[in-house]
């Protein structure tokens, strides 16, 4: 079988599986799949910064939360707002927040970048907590109306039906993943690798670092915002704890590390693994984060390449195919 047919078969099968999930699995499991899709896009958007630019952000919840809040506020206050404009406002909100933060953030890197992003997200957290007449404080915004989705050539689709929402989320988030993949393949993607590997040389060649960093930062923010926006549709509740807290910033970092740094699909795999761990440990204990935290420490210490790296190792050992561990190795 040549690689081309193999590829076609794999994509057809995976598309069929994605299509069949809500039909075969129950509502609960379908909703977990939606969570997985949201988490994947969120983690991959952070991964643009972490793996491809070498910038560790401890405050990505800032964009996730901005997107979620912008969508929730739009749905609550703008009469007859369509699904697409609410989604667009979520992306726009996150993008504007990223634009406002970027002048300060593009000047720093390393630990200072991590601390500054943490500070900005905490700033947003506190503001949303205190200005309760707009954001509802700790309780958040809930019960906003979810309009039916209008598509050309189709009647209105009720998004409150779990299966419909699943298809909507998968399509929107799938497009986001595709766009991020495409972004990395453009010449601009190569500039990103340059920022990670040798910023000084990049400057000598003639690229302007701060604007390039700002563009990546804003792009990453917008995609995180879309993830947050879909999350707002999905939960019908947006609160500071679920959309802006420190844990929301840390989850994608854990997903990236667990799945595998410096790979595109590592964070997706990591999100899946973390969700599985959560569903499994929830049966036995309430302290899910304790388990994930311990696993996280073990991975940082013993297997910084993550699960994908492990797969590659096993593949090499047992199937003898000389895999070029180009992407999964950490130099």
């Amino acid at each position: 079988m040549n690689p081309k047919t193999k590829q076609i078969i794999i994509s057809v099968v995976s598309l069929a599986v994605i299509f069949l999930i809500p039909q075969v699995l129950g509502i609960v499991k379908t909703n977990i799949c939606v969570e997985f899709a949201i988490g994947s896009v969120y983690a991959v958007s952070l991964n643009l910064l972490l793996s491809y630019c070498g910038l560790l952000s401890f405050g990505h919840a800032l964009f996730y939360g901005s997107g979620a809040y912008a969508t929730a506020l739009a749905l609550r206050h703008i009469p007859d707002v369509s699904v697409w404009s609410a989604l667009g406002l979520g992306a726009l909100g996150a993008g504007v927040v990223a634009l406002i933060c970027s002048p300060l953030l593009v000047r720093v890197s390393g630990t200072a970048f991590a601390m500054l992003t943490l500070a900005f997200s905490q700033l947003m957290f506190v503001v949303c907590l205190k200005y309760r007449e707009i954001t509802g404080g700790e309780d958040g915004i809930s019960g906003f109306p979810i309009p039916p989705l209008k598509l050309p050539g189709l009647g209105p689709i009720e998004l409150t039906v779990p299966a419909n929402f699943y298809y909507f989320a998968v399509v929107v988030l799938g497009i986001c993943l595709g766009l991020m993949w495409f972004l990395l393949k453009t010449p601009f993607g190569n500039v990103m690798f340059g920022i990670r590997d040798n910023p000084t040389r990049l400057e000598y060649i003639g690229y302007r670092l701060p604007p390039s960093k700002a563009i990546i930062f804003i792009a990453s923010g917008v995609f995180a915002g879309i993830a947050g926006s879909v999350f707002a549709f999905f939960q019908n509740v947006v609160s500071t704890g679920a959309a802006l807290s420190i844990m929301v910033s840390f989850t994608p970092i854990m997903a990236i590390l667990v799945g595998g740094m410096r790979t595109f699909f590592g964070p997706v795999l990591g999100t899946a693994i973390l969700l599985l761990i959560r569903e499994f440990t929830m049966k036995y204990t309430e302290r899910v984060e304790l388990v994930t935290g311990l696993i996280f420490i073990a991975i940082v210490l013993y297997m910084p390449g993550g699960a994908l790296h492990l797969f590659n190792l096993i593949k090499m050992k047992w199937f003898g195919k000389a895999q070029t561990a180009k992407e999964s190795s950490i130099p």
């Binding site: 560790l56 300060l104 940082v300 013993y302």
Partner: protein, 299 residues
Amino acid sequence: MSLEDVDVDPVTVMYVTQAINGLAYGMLLFLVSSGLTLIFGMMGVLNLAHASFFMLAGYFCYTSLGLVGNFWVALLVAPVAVGILGLFVERFFLRKVAASGLGHMGDLLLTLGISLVIAETVKAFWGTAGLAIPIPPLLEGRVFISNLEYPIYRLVTIALSLMILGIFALILFKTRLGKIVQAAVSDADMVNALGINTPLVFMLVFGIGTWMAGVAGVTSAPILQVYPGLADQIGLDAFVIVVVGGFGSLLGALVASLLLGELNSFGVQFIPRLAPVLMFAFMAVVLAFKPTGFFGERE
């Protein structure tokens, strides 16, 4: 005419009270952040779990109070326990992650993981509710100077912090060990090349730093209560101080702590809703004009 009869204008009273409050909080923050900034200066490690040790000391204090019933024993035991835990973390975790090839990102991620685990362990053992720790009976009550009154315990906190910092400064600036630490802050590799066992010095400094965080945790426990979110709250303040004061600079940490303490205290008085935002805004302004912080030499 006794002192009680002199009437001080209530506005002045408010200003003085808030200023002392700010000073108390600032000294406390300096106790926490001095260890943090030294560790950062020497090892390049920003210990995200530093504030978790602070919180853990508060919980140890609660438990030992339950066992022994004496605050002073708790003040002695809890920080030491936390310090030993710190030594353990440095020796068996941080030293290991240096070999994993993640660079300083590895340190950040590892300490992040440790802080998560500590937060969750604390919830599992002590529950999620806030635990009140009584002020030791000896230090209850208030000082009265005319119509200005102030709780004794907070004054004692300031005195205790000053004492520890005095001893600390003596060691750092007057002893051979202090010289080694100072030299290691500016160039660890060179010190190592001169034949000094820098890993051991790192371990010691890490232990002392966490011990100091522990002392701060126990002394502040009666004022702040102990709850699982404490680490985040104090930790953020301490990180802001380290960034604003300049990575690795003790003087910078002192100035930034006192400034932030006052900023916090007067912020709560005048613009209560925006008080927590003030310090981040302050940090953003400082970094916009001087990315290295007040006294820092590197970014």
